[in-house]
Symmetry: C2
Subunit: 323 residues, 2 copies
């Protein structure tokens, strides 16, 4: 797969025909989810712009449907709302959009802490804490204590990841590749999606299952792939924003190995294809394992991978004017 | 109780004779804990200075012994190591000591994230990630999944609290009092101490018990009191460090209400005494409750309160030269 790069050059993209060829199964609740998201945004005005609302609600409802196609309508809507919350928070307060820089993001995150720490409702003027409070209360009502805490932990990790990113976004060439690779899963929300999946789909790995090499290896590969795919998809959109390179896999590969940005894209695409093969093998192994919980986990990881492969073709990731 | 302030003036201090008069019971393992801490620091060289090691090991072992006097020797040593880790991390990388400012602290925290998120060992040159990995593996082996995740969540909240503090420490007058009061429990480690207490003492509240008004009210009061007591104790030590006021309760009370720093101390002391009365009442109510789990929780909260009241008289908190 290739795309048109800045200046009309073609940038290499990963080829998933051998591992995740698509089309990917979608659930039956797309329209209902879209409607629920719009209603929820009426109650929690996270996105003032009607255009931003429309694009984000569209990608989120269709993406959620491909992530967990077998989920019930109510659970899927709750999951989609969480995903929307994360993306809207990132778009509004992080990603270099925060007018006040890292310090302003840290202050917005600090308003979320009472919500995360002990379920206290926030009285901040920002709508994000109240919306998160609503989401977490509903997840808590559906989840056991450990599953809920895993979800809340992944949200904290995402917030710390966004804070870390905000401190480095102005000077991406100062970030070591290994550090970036370790942090990237947290800023792409994939660990939160995994934790939410167990609640939404109604299964829970035991501690022993979670520690299995096959599970850890598959989860790590899904987490890597999600961030890298997103980096390739969003590169041109982010490149348009400012004079500096995006804090992104191709940027860091170019800094590390030299060469053109097209060569960095080729290298990143190869990494994606290799990681997709690891994911495919892991899913196959787990899907044939017993007990059923591991099979359920394999299906969840497959759906999560589908959604990340799928989402890169959405209008949100096309260069302007579709931002 | 009064102390000698900067310039020899006497600053008012809270009077706990009506609520927590002391002396406070200590467990039988002080010397053994002190020895274990020194051994652990050989393995994990968190504190290069022998003097800093000696002072911190002393206050931590005696403080831990007063926090959970009935704990077994092994559990108490593990708890003391966690407390030492937190204090040493704060002293080394936070509290305005980080030479690189907030960005350097964020980088140190990012090295802890793989350890917290999925137990991956770190290869960072900084000794703190490896030491945390060791601690968390031992807590995990002793705790149920939910109890472990509560502990790890409180650690994440502490780290985010320290990052927040680092962004405001140079200009404390810009912080709203309400924001400070909400963040302070996270930077004084008291929520981590509570979470560790359940593991160390071998009890676990049910979700229903945890949501009881008596439990929440008592925990909140202990959390507030811990931070405020520490602020009054450490004010002069922090005041000596730099030209600006410490980011601390008396500073913010003075900014809010005007008057002298002695008047702010008097106001803060009154707040402490009121909160101590809430704690005492809450402990009494819970100690008479059934089932035994609530009684155990009341004893834990009482020990935690004792340790915070006790620690303010330690040499660590005397103005120079005892720093």
């Amino acid at each position: 797969m290739t795309g048109t790069g800045a200046g009309g050059t073609m940038l290499p993209r990963p080829d998933f025909t051998a591992t995740f060829p698509g089309p990917f199964p979608a659930g039956p609740h797309d329209e209902r989810t879209e409607h629920r998201l719009l209603e929820w945004l009426e109650e929690h005005p996270l996105l003032p712009s009607a255009k931003a609302r429309e694009v984000l609600v569209n990608i989120t409802s269709h993406g959620a449907s491909r992530t967990f196609p077998t989920a019930d309508a109510d659970e899927l809507a709750l999951f989609a709302e969480l995903l929307l919350w994360l993306t809207a928070f990132d778009d509004t307060h992080a990603e270099g959009n925060a007018a006040g820089g890292p310090a302003a993001l840290v202050d917005r995150v600090s308003e979320l802490m009472p919500v995360l720490a002990d379920g206290t409702a926030s009285r901040a003027p920002d709508p994000f804490p109240a919306a998160l409070h609503d989401l977490l209360a509903r997840f808590r009502a559906r989840a056991g204590a450990a599953a809920y805490h895993r979800l809340a932990a992944s949200l904290r990790d995402t917030l710390m990841g966004l804070v870390w990113e905000a401190h480095h976004i102005a000077r991406p060439e100062g970030v070591a590749l290994a550090t970036y690779l370790a942090m990237r899963p947290h800023t792409v929300f994939v660990r939160t999606i995994m934790a939410a999946g167990e609640i939404v789909l109604g299964y829970e790995l035991t501690d022993t299952q979670r520690a299995l090499a096959a599970v850890r290896k598959s989860e790590t590969a899904v987490a890597n792939l999600a961030g890298w795919i997103n980096d390739l998809a969003s590169y041109e959109r982010e490149r348009e924003r400012g004079p500096q390179q995006p804090l992104s896999l191709p940027t860091l590969l170019q800094a590390r190995h030299g060469g053109t940005i097209a060569e960095a894209f080729a290298r990143a695409s190869g990494m994606c294809e290799n990681e997709a093969a690891v994911v495919r093998q892991g899913i196959t192994d787990l899907a044939h394992a017993s007990p059923d919980t591991l099979t359920a986990h394999a299906r969840a990881l497959e759906g999560i991978t589908h959604s990340f492969v799928w989402h890169t073709d959405h209008a949100r990731y096309q260069p302007s004017p579709a931002r």
